[in-house]
Point group: C2
């Protein structure tokens, strides 16, 4: 069951939870904002749902709430940071902002970070770069959670890739993991007794299936676009580790400290008006988006939308009617806010139960 | 039916064809090399098969064989060119090389080009950047050939996206269109009386199908990863048009001059050793690739490979045993080489017949 909580109340509660976990005022404010915004945008899985797991990681010592990103390399428009296993959201916001600053000065900015931790909703940083007026590209490497194409055991991360276009009437933002469905999504469908809309993995006999429970059992989640998502996932892993001079996916596997602990991230920001005038570029974006949205719909009740447009609509609804949150997750965050830090990873409990 | 032709003979024949089409010695040599290499790498669809169509485009005046890319904008590590509807392959090689030069000087290089033409095999330039020792990212926008997710009519290009990692033991290269299967691939399966390995689109009744003929009839080719490939395709279109200050996909639709005529391309090259030592980075790449390749295979006869590894194996076989080419296509190229320029687009004939 879900409840709707006013944005400000949700954020204030989350902030108290973060303060109780030892975060500074500034970091608690930032993390509460990002997590609440993710839920408000409809990405609950990486918004409120992740706070209990974050609390668990902090208490296990996997996330150092006091760490600050440190510049360890720099050349022209390119910078490399060591995240010192600090808060993933805080480190990623820092890097995204820094990439945008470099793009402002130099047209393009490349910022990489190693030894950081889970950035929660990957798209948060692409959205952020777009709202600052720059084009954003970002990705992360993760521990192995998906079979490589042709394999029946996890061998690569689902390494999300994000791209954002700074359209003034609303950014166009892609935030895609390299698995067709997240494990979290499988659990949601299974608990509702539903099949997946499209095949999402292989069962233990190796047949493509839309049965979420069968995929959870086999661990054989489907890469996005079969061999294509598998190929891009390994390339993104190599690229992140190479450019950030840090861990690749199997280094994280060996370490065994949960999801994304010690991972690398890449943030590229580009000035959209490097070569075209602002008015002209924005007109082109509006014209192209309008043409895409005017595509003949399969179902007239579901008009075609470019990625990001529906997010803004969901956000507006959340601001008016309150932000959706799972009751169990919300109760847990309220416990954290009340100072009861004996948390368990409710997110995974909710998913796996 | 296919035949195997020695690499040098194939390249020399292709070069004569290009010379007969009015290309300079230098451009004919380059184009013959790239097209023959693509076929040798197993990408016949964008190697030999495309030469008849290229000839058709030249004779229609859609490609100007005398045009040179012109620098029209520059800031720091970023440059923008006008391709003046010159040869797509020549323009793209120029831009890829320029991006690598910028990366050498500045750590990263971004080169964009507008008013260019079909680059044939997208991966050719990512491979090229990788062999020069840099990481490469490139993409293109195309005319609309694939329905946006939720639509039943073409509304976006299949906009290939490429990423290459410069591993010394063999680059890892992703070259992926945003459609699950190319139209050319559907034709190949249909002519062989085969079903697709996985569903590749919708039939006219809107059902997901692995019947290639049904998809050709409906025109409803499936985006890679359903909604994900559709989302990334529109973002890549917007990004290419924005960064190159040129046509978006629907501008090409309106112009109606075939595939990719007047398109935009983006080339990013990055120094892989910006922040990590060469030896250390290469060791990490080898370690990670070896781990991925050691994934337990579904079928022991088909060990897991990272993208690009099989390409090198195919290339080696082509160099030893000759390069594979469709007999009809090869006859047509021989005609072109003999000075008979009354060509038709054999590639599309082969696909559509």
């Amino acid at each position: 069951m879900s409840v709707r909580i006013p944005f400000d109340e949700m954020k204030a509660t989350a902030k108290k939870a973060f303060l109780n976990l030892g975060l500074s005022e500034e970091k608690a404010e930032l993390c509460a904002t990002i997590h609440t915004q993710s839920s408000a945008d409809g990405v609950e899985s990486h918004g409120m749902n992740r706070i209990p797991r974050f609390a668990e990681y902090v208490q296990k010592g996997w996330v150092d709430v006091h760490a600050e990103p440190e510049l360890v390399g720099s050349k022209g428009a390119c910078e490399n940071y060591d995240g010192h296993l600090g808060i993933g959201v805080y480190n990623a916001v820092f890097c995204a902002d820094r990439a945008a600053e470099l793009a402002k000065e130099r047209g393009i900015g490349l910022v990489t970070i190693k030894n950081t931790t889970h950035w929660m909703r990957g798209g948060a940083y692409a959205w952020r770069i777009a709202y600052k007026g720059y084009m954003g590209i970002s990705w992360i490497n993760t521990e192995s959670c998906m079979p490589m194409w042709g394999s029946d055991e996890p061998g690569v991360g689902n390494n999300p890739f994000c791209m954002a276009i700074p359209r003034e009437k609303g950014p166009i933002v892609v935030d895609m993991a390299m698995s067709q469905y997240a494990y979290g999504k499988l659990g949601v469908y299974r608990m509702q007794g539903k099949k997946l809309p499209y095949p999402g993995g292989f069962d233990q006999e190796g047949h493509l299936t839309d049965d979420p429970g069968a995929i959870e059992k086999s661990g054989r989640i489907l890469p996005t676009g079969y061999w294509k998502g598998s190929s891009l996932a390994i390339a993104l892993d190599l690229a992140a580790a190479m450019l950030a001079n840090g861990f690749c996916g199997t280094d994280m596997d060996e370490q065994g400290k949960g999801s994304c602990t010690g991972c690398c991230q890449v943030f590229i920001a580009i000035d959209p008006y490097l070569f075209g005038g602002k008015e002209e570029v924005q007109k082109m974006l509006d014209r192209r988006v309008a043409a895409a949205d005017a595509s003949h719909p399969i179902n007239p009740a579901h008009p075609v939308k470019c990625p990001g447009e529906s997010t803004v609509a969901r956000r507006e609804r959340s601001m008016k009617e309150g932000v959706n949150v799972d009751e169990t997750v919300w109760a847990q965050i309220q416990q954290l806010a009340a100072g009861n830090l004996d948390v368990q990873d409710i997110a995974s409990v909710v998913i796996k139960k």
